[in-house]
Each structure stands twice: as C-alpha cells, then as structure tokens.
Symmetry: C2
Subunit: 313 residues, 2 copies
Amino acid sequence: MTPGPATQTLASWNDGPAKSAITAFVASVTTAGGPDFVPVPERIAVFDNDGTLWCEQPFYNQFQFALDRVKALAPQHSEWRSQEPFQHLLAGDTNALLAGGERSLAAIMAAAHSGITSEDFDGVVREWLRGAKHPKSGQPYTSMIYQPMLELLDYLRSNGFKTFIVSGGGVEFMRAFADSVYGIPPEQVIGSQGKLRYELRAGRPVLVKLPEPQFVDDGPGKPAGIQTFIGRRPIAAFGNSDGDLQMLQWTMAGPGPRFALLVHHTDAVREWAYDRASPVGRLDRALDEAAGSGWTVVDMQRDWKRVFPFEQR
Amino acid sequence: MTPGPATQTLASWNDGPAKSAITAFVASVTTAGGPDFVPVPERIAVFDNDGTLWCEQPFYNQFQFALDRVKALAPQHSEWRSQEPFQHLLAGDTNALLAGGERSLAAIMAAAHSGITSEDFDGVVREWLRGAKHPKSGQPYTSMIYQPMLELLDYLRSNGFKTFIVSGGGVEFMRAFADSVYGIPPEQVIGSQGKLRYELRAGRPVLVKLPEPQFVDDGPGKPAGIQTFIGRRPIAAFGNSDGDLQMLQWTMAGPGPRFALLVHHTDAVREWAYDRASPVGRLDRALDEAAGSGWTVVDMQRDWKRVFPFEQR
C-alpha cells in the first residue's frame, strides 16, 4: 500500500490547516534526534471506522447487513412472523421497526450475528459485501470509503506507524474487509464483540458466536478496548463522532507529541452534512472539545478534493 | 533479537526429534514455491506463558506477586485482619489459605489486581519484578525463563513469524515484561483480563481496573481469545498443560501445514518434573492427544542443553 512514484502524498487533500497539521505532526515524530521523535514501535495510530473510514449514512452499513441477514434467515424462523421486532422487518415496516428503539435494533443485530461459527460468519459477510449495494450511490459498500483517509493510512504506515481500527462495529464484521480495503490486518482490528463458545463438532473444533455481548467498543469502551487489545497508548487518534470522544481524550492525555483529528461531515453534495442533531454519528460534545483543545477538525467540503475513490475528478 | 553471527540457531536444543520437527516445519512453510509455503502475514505463532516460556513452580509467579501485593496493601485494609481469606495470608498460614480453594485464590487475585489504574498497575508490577526473587533459585522471576524457548521465539521471528503470547495469566501483568524479556510487544500479548472503567480524575482520563473478570483466557477460552484478539488461526502453537489443549486443537484443525508442541517438564534436577498429577500445570489429556495426533513433545531433560539463561554451561 506504499504510494507508488505517480501517487502524490495525500493527493486528495486540499492544502489547508488540516493537511498541514497532519504533515507537521508526522514530520515532528519521525525526525531522528528531534525533540518530538517517537520510536517506531510507539507510533500507534487508531481509527474509528463508521463515518471516519467509510460512510455511515443513511444508517450504519453493518445494520443494513443485519437486516439483509435476518430476511435471509427468516424461512428457518417461522416464529419471527409474529415476533417483535422481526415481524415489522419482514413486513417491510421500517417505521415500526425503528419505533422499537435500541432494544429492537439490538435484537436484530443479535439474530444476525449469532448462532453461526466464526468461520461461516466470515463467509456470510464476504458474500454480502460482494453483492450488496449502498442505497444512495448504488456502489458496493466497500467502495463507500474515503479516498483521503486511505491516503492518510498509507502515509502514516510509510512513516513507521502501525494503524489500528478501534470501532463500535462488530470485530468479525470489519475483519472481513479491513485487510483488503484498508490494508489493516485482522489482528489490528478492535471492535465490539459477542462471546464465543468452543465446541467440537464431529471431532472438529469450531467457535460459535453467541448472542451475549462480551465487549462494547464505543464511547468510554474505546480507551478500555485500546488498553485491553493494544496495551499501549496511541499517539494519534482519528474519529468523527461523540463515540470517539474518550478515545481522543485518552490519546491526547499521554506525554510527548500527540495528534487528534475529527472528520466533520459538511458536504451534503458529495456525501452528507450532519453533526450535532444526527441520530447516526452525532458530533456534538467532541466538536466542542476539539475547539477547546486544539484538535484538528477536517471540514470535508473544504479539505477533501475527492471523497470516494469512484468519483470522477 | 535476530541471532548474531556468533549465536547458533537453537543453540540450547539438543539434536533430536523435537529440534528436527521444528526446523523441518519452518523450512517447509518458508520455502518459496514449495507445496507448504505460507505467506508472511499468516505465519502466526502462539505461545502459552506459564510453564512454556517461564517457570510455573512451585506456584504461578503471578500468584506470588498477588500475595506480595496484598501484604503491601494490608495497612490500608484493616478489615482484612478478620476477613477470609486475607487473614490467613496475613497470618502466614498458607495451608489455611490454600484450603479455601479457587474462591480464596480468586479473592486474593482480585484484591491484588483491581482498584488501581492500568498505568499505576504497570508501575507496581515492574517494581515487583525488579525486587522479587524466585523462592527456589533466588533469581529474579524474569530470569526464570527458558533459554531454548527464547531461541525458538527468535528463530521463528527471523523466519517471518509474528509471535503472540496466549496465556491464562493477566494481560497487564505479562505486558510489564513481555517486550523486554521475550521481545513480544504489548499488542501481541493476550491474557485473562478484568473490566476497565474509564474515568476523568481532575480532568485527566484514567482506566481503573475492576475486580469483575471480563475474559478468562484459559482452556476453551484460548481459541476464543485467539479469534477475538488476532482474528486468524495460528499455524503454530506452543504449550505445556491441559489449559493449552484447545489452543493446540484449534491451531491444528486448519488447512495446510501446522505445528503443535508441548513442553513436558521431565527434569527434576535442573527444573521440575511434573505432568498428570500436578495441581499446577497439569499435563494429562493434552499428553494423550499429543501421542495420538503426532504433536511434538519436548522432553526437557533430553531435548534441552540448558534450561535457564543463568545456568553455567
């Protein structure tokens, strides 16, 4: 994923304060003998996924996966035809489904993500990603990724950073595409997860995904996840919503040079414009804290030459 | 940690079936164009810690840490003087303490590993490791490591393997020494863990270690931990007890070339001799399965020229 000779570093970023802040930070921590030099093993950078690396509108892509999966499983679950919230989903009544709130969403997510082995689940996600299309763009979901952020991942890695995803999304969902799409290997993907049960089936070991949550990697769960999975504090963190606030706080509270960045979705034409009032990816407290703490805020409309890789330039 | 020119590969291993099996496996997966070639990113090797990389007798070293820590904390906990199991520990009555069984041990472990921030805990462990001495050898605990296994870690890494610890031990305990002692960075240490609570203390974020367990990385928890933290199946696994059985099963059940090894503690003179009847590090079912499945079993007395780095040769 190292940029080839023809690829200009951060080519899809307009010159401006966000791009300058990124390159100044990277120059400072990689300058051997400089006051802010950071040894390679400590160059840990963490990225939220939904809304930071790929789009999260009109609703989290993983939830669309869950809806499709529940529909696909419905023939084996006749009880769902008269059971909340599945009956609304199967009847196509989205309003009734959403009226059930978090409890309904959690039931759909649990049904879509459990009762299957980890191995089979990986296959199901990959198959869905091959066929499903984003409702607005008609593009595959794995194309709904931000070209400037891909370049940023490459740029950091070519400067000795180890890049991690730290997301509220399901860890086994994200691992099905993080390596091929972002160049982030499975062991560098941290996310929410359910419990797993080890079983021998006809003498062959499997891990069965259970509906019980084991870890919720969102909000204050993000620094906890970083400590649990990585075991050292990142020096750079990238997010876009209040769910990333604590991850950015935690990253910035360490000694030495540090960098925090928020992607602000300001481009209703090329992507979406949303922040303080959005039910998905709300950016409110973190935006205030960014202003008060000098964190870098990307204005998508101003700072990004191109949003998606498939855009005409 | 790459062996220097003067260091012979696996120098502390005697020639014999164990050493031959290791070198034959590594040759097969690293031979480009060969039938068993494995690309570098998939060369994942997992190691148990207690009894596999360092000694676990007369009792798990981490439990000795917990005993010392509870004693150090006792002045701030006057209630412990009349409270099970702490009163026995403080009175020096080991038999009464052990008579309380797993429940007593868990209470000691929880008291020693919670109510402190992750950062402070790391400092406490490092300080303990600097001062404490193993009761039999009088050596620091970080010297009670197996020289042949250090060479094996180096050998695998110099052949493109990524080495992980997957241990029942506490993840934050092991991370305090895994990098400097084994060359294994924090993000490649998987272990048992308690929950963490994110808090702002005087505006500064901390992670507080709670007594509630979040994940037990032992027995069937090991393949679950591997899937949760690494997200791909190792091609080589190294253990020494029944607590490693499922990790070895899981590793061996994948397609392509695979390697499983058990360290059998057979050397009562240089280390300890124990297996089927040992309360610590029992090796019973896994030994049977190794025999039936063709896993490599290290006979410590026969296969290792030297056990500890501090030994005279």
